[in-house]
Amino acid sequence: MTGGAPPADRPLDLAAALAESGVDELLATLDAELVGLAPVKRRIREIAALLLVEKLRLQVGLSAGPPSLHMSFTGNPGTGKTTIALRMAEILHRLRYVRKGHLVAVTRDDLVGQFIGHTAPRTKEVVKRAMGGVLFIDEAYFLYRPENERDYGQEAMEILLQVMENDRDDLVVILAGYKDRMDRFFASNPGMSSRIAHHVDFPDYGQDELYAIAGLMLEKMQYRLSDDARTALGEYIERRRARPSFANARSIRNALDRARLRHADRLFGAAGEPLSREALMTIEASDIRASRVFSEAAATAEESTP
């Protein structure tokens, strides 16, 4: 970046830089394919802008050093944390912040061993695999068990802390989990907390958002809803949200999978009649209303079978 730097007074074209990076394209797909998550998308846009501006600043000889991009993603299950992490890896790759742009998703079991001397090689191996990309640690608070001071998780944490500090050029770490537990985790691990530059909170989806998500999923799977089924799905979502085991988009995905089963079973039951393409595509209200969500009191516990 030396020698070829443009004169400081020449205006730099941020829009052109954005177009050239191809990031606006990715951001646009993000908007189109992911319902809601407005604060998350805003944060991603900010990070992209920061990296782009940093690039331009470098071109005119200004530098604050590469920014730290380790993040925490907090939110309930099914709020899109893993999906966003994948997109994040792609965006960071387009902006050349990471070299390869792959995502290595792990949990405590992948990092922490069962025996003395087992943990460090395991953690280091995962870290090496993630280099050039993003290391996504789901339910990161399980790494730390304050009640057990001989827990090997501590060893994994120490290695991670070191890597997050010294190898920032080589990988980005994203810690993910429920918000309250992550907050407690950070409170008792100030070292980890101080290395996380971006805390991103994933809100639960609202009724309309979940309905839109269902629409997108059905479109991808090449199904459609009958008019009655649409109403039924709306009601289903309302009831499902009230249940304790509700897991946002994941619950919707599961509900649709079960509706597909019932749809297939219904067609099978009516065997003998010629099947139209329409019938093969269309989910009816009965396919949805057969769910236990409708038959049981909303207060019952985990719904495990259809």
Binding site: K100, P121, K128, M131, D170
Partner: protein, 139 residues
């Protein structure tokens, strides 16, 4: 003496960037990369010590470079090499192997001749360094 085992020993010692580029090439080919070291560089010493297991499924050279630099820190005066292993059926062997660290100076080898029948000679190559016990060879 300069030990010329390995793929690039006739070139000036590779810089870290050059080493990293070669590792990238290996990873792009899907080869597993490993780091080995020794203080007994006899040409028939096949089994250098492994500095950890071969690294499978890496995407970026940085992970290997960490091991290279850790090996250099631990064994600054040993020979260290980077190997790339290809598990493709019909190969299942090394595809690249090059030295990334060497002692200074390199004492080299002597040739021991045993004269036997009919002017024939039995040859033995002996590293001067192995006069010393393992671990005390390149101080």
């Amino acid at each position: 003496m300069r030990l010329t085992q390995g793929t690039f020993s006739f070139l000036p010692d590779l810089s870290d960037d050059q080493i990293s580029n070669q590792i990238e090439y290996c990873l792009e080919n899907g080869w597993a990369v490993s780091v080995e070291y020794t203080d007994d560089p006899h040409p028939r010493n096949t089994y250098w010590e492994m500095f950890g297991n071969p690294m499978f499924d890496l995407r970026d050279a940085a992970g290997v470079m960490k091991e290279v630099s850790a090996a250099r820190t631990t064994f600054p005066n040993h020979y260290i090499k980077v190997n790339a292993f290809d598990a493709t059926r019909g190969v299942e062997s090394l595809r690249l192997s090059f030295i990334v660290n060497r002692p200074d100076p390199e004492p080299g080898f002597g040739l021991v001749r045993q004269e036997v029948d009919g002017r024939a000679i039995r040859y033995t190559i002996r590293a001067y360094a192995t006069d010393q016990p393992e671990g005390e060879r390149y101080q």
